[in-house]
Amino acid sequence: MVRVEHRKKSLITIPENVEDTLELLSSGDYVSDRSLSTAVYLSLKLGRPLFLEGEAGVGKTEIAKVLAETLGRRLVRLQCYEGLDVASAVYEWNYSAQMIEIRMAEAEGIGDRDRLGDDIFSDKFLIHRPLLQALDPSADGPPVLLIDELDRTDEAFEAYLLEVLSDFQITIPEIGTVRAEEPPIVIITSNRTREIHDALKRRCFYYWVDYPDAERELEILSLKAPQADARLSRQVVDFVQRLRAVDLFKVPGIAETIDWASALHQLDIIELTPEAIDDTLGVLLKYQDDIAKIRGSEAAKILDEIKSEVALAQAAT
């Protein structure tokens, strides 16, 4: 395997105050507000994990990605699921290589069991999974570790994380304790499908990521779906904002807004009409009950409200 030489990058330092953090995030096309920037800044400065909670599709995962990109760090992502265990989250031994090693030793007639044991359980045969990767030294500085949707794992794994997140060390029985020279930047996200234990939250800075207001959402849309017409974007945002006030099983997140604007653009629609909404509602709403509720008269009603509001605003100016 040919190894590509890493280009020597100048280490991007972490921001020195809240303003810089705000700027850093916006340089990565992330529209943040001051409260979120404060939480991010604290977590970067004090080396504590940042715990982000919020509904699906409000941009929690995105923060980790943007931080990795703008700080020039490696992004290590651990996607959680029920039954996640040490072998797939932390480390695993390369069994086939170990077997071959044993056979080779056997063929060469090496009978020294202790030496063979030491040899087999060495770093050479260790497969680093995300958590261990995050502790590995890196030329670009410590990586960004994203522990995504922590609420999907079981309590056992959560408890395991306690040691990792407070001391940034992992104990491998065969080798010993691996400790990070510099702690990684840790972002933990949760969709609140279940409550995370207080013991874990206590080790983190907490932030609830909410749906953005209309202005911020429009700003996000102009960055993430720039091809869409400005007037259409405005209508899309107004429509989605109003939809979030309706009693739905799952209200659309920012991700859905972006998808919808892009979809409408792809269909060459430059202005919202009741028909256009009905045809593309599946991009926005993901439950049949919700679609049935909005499709038709309800959508038309919301659309009318938006249009009359815009007309009023124009008349005023």
Partner: protein, 418 residues
């Protein structure tokens, strides 16, 4: 910001740390889990962001002290009151604390002491071999005693909760406290070493091979672990259910403290999550907390409304891992089953098994005629009675069957009434 701090800071510079500590104490009094570690962290956080900007100050403390979404409101109010004039709150706290909280706490302590004393006394009475009489003399007496308790138990088993005397109720409560709920177990994605497993445990195999010097490789096996799915209880506490729901609460308390992953909700006209309250080990303390949390005891029932709230706010959070749902209600709905069919359908679809427990089933001629009952029947996997100890025990038995699907078909409600 600086002006405000000047007020908070009237005893000279360097007192900001002190004020943060007092602020933390206010939050603690308001019910937020703020320990000493958090205070230190809060001070560090404020040092880090500086004092130039009121918003930064606010959000720095917010990031440290707030742990859950529902704490934001409390934090916000406390922040705005406290940082205007911390001395005021301090004084108020010192005034309020001794006069209000203390006597209450004392009374509680007294009650606890009394019960503790009673418990100890009982232990002494039951201690065998205390008297001077020989073993031979005592033996027959014990046997008779056992028979009597057995027959008393037998009677207790079949008595309707509604018709029990207070003494019998006490006995029933004690029986319930001993009850366990063995829910069936389902395989999960984790593995455990097991000689009878079918998958090879490579890690163990390699270790075993090394032990033998690598000459042979004795295969080791592993098997999927099993655990019970979460249990979610939705219990009706409206007027028609009041006698039963109290007994059922005792039952739920026993179950909650027996295992993890039990979520309990009460509903009458609105839905209340009482999972945390039921976690108190002492049953009286737990039920007191429940009573505090619930406003709509013995009122009307709005089943559809309650289920709607459950579906939107909680179902994704508590039904995530294939939960078994116990719905305890008599199906008498004030809203005439408005919107109920849709909500119960969604609940049914998102749970592993939906078991409807209905105390009215004890009447032989009961027929699910009410609109609510008719809307719910097609969407229940099992339909059972819950009106005496025996039925609770049968429930425990039914839940432990792994293949318990549709043991009682929804149309065979008359058999279930037996």
């Amino acid at each position: 910001m600086l002006d405000d701090l000047a007020v908070a800071d009237d005893t000279g510079p360097g007192k900001i740390a002190n004020n943060i500590m007092h602020f933390a104490r206010v939050l603690r009094m308001a019910g937020l889990p703020v320990g000493p570690g958090k205070v230190i962290e809060g001070i560090r956080a404020v040092e880090t962001v500086g004092l130039d900007n009121r918003d930064d100050f606010y959000w720095a403390l917010h990031a440290v002290f707030v742990n859950r979404r529902d704490q934001r409101e409390i934090f916000d109010q406390a922040f705005h009151i406290f940082w205007r004039n911390p001395k005021l709150l301090e004084r108020m706290a010192s005034l309020v604390l001794p006069s209000f909280v203390d006597p209450d706490a004392q009374q509680n302590a007294e009650e606890m002491n009394r019960r503790l004393a009673e418990a100890l006394k009982q232990d002494q009475v039951e201690m065998p071999g205390e008297g001077e009489g020989g073993q031979d003399e005592e033996d027959p007496e014990i046997t008779i005693d056992a028979v009597m308790t057995f027959s008393a138990n037998e009677l207790l088993q079949k008595t309707d909760f509604e018709k029990m005397s207070s003494e019998e109720l006490e006995a029933a409560k004690r029986a319930i406290a001993r009850m366990r709920l063995p829910i069936m177990e389902v395989p999960i994605r984790r593995f455990r070493r097991d000689a009878r497993g079918r998958r090879i445990d490579m890690r163990a195999t390699l270790r075993a091979a090394l032990r033998g010097g690598g000459a042979t490789i004795p295969l080791q096996y592993r098997k999927r672990q099993r655990r019970h799915p979460p249990l979610v209880v939705l219990c009706d506490i409206s007027g028609s259910m009041s006698r039963y729901s109290r007994m059922i609460l005792h039952f739920m308390h026993a179950v909650t403290n027996d295992r993890d992953r039990v979520h309990t909700f009460l509903f009458g006209t609105r839905l209340t999550n009482v999972t945390r309250q039921l976690r108190y080990k002492d049953v009286d303390e737990a039920l007191d907390k429940v009573a505090e949390a619930v406003d709509d005891w013995s009122g009307g029932t709005r089943i559809g409304h309650a289920l709607h709230d459950f579906n939107t706010d909680w179902s994704r959070r508590v039904l995530g891992q294939g939960a078994v749902v116990l719905l305890i209600t008599d199906g008498l709905d004030r809203d005439a089953a408005d919107g109920l069919d849709k909500e119960i359908e969604r609940l049914h679809m998102s749970s592993r098994r939906l078991i409807w427990l209905n105390p009215l089933l004890r009447y032989e001629r009961y027929e699910p005629k009410s609109l609510g009952a008719r809307a719910m029947l097609p969407h229940t996997d099992e339909f059972r009675s819950i009106h005496n100890l025996e039925s609770l025990e049968q429930l425990a038995e039914a839940l432990s069957r792994a293949d318990g699907h549709g043991t009682f078909q929804s149309n065979s409600w008359q058999e279930a009434a037996q």
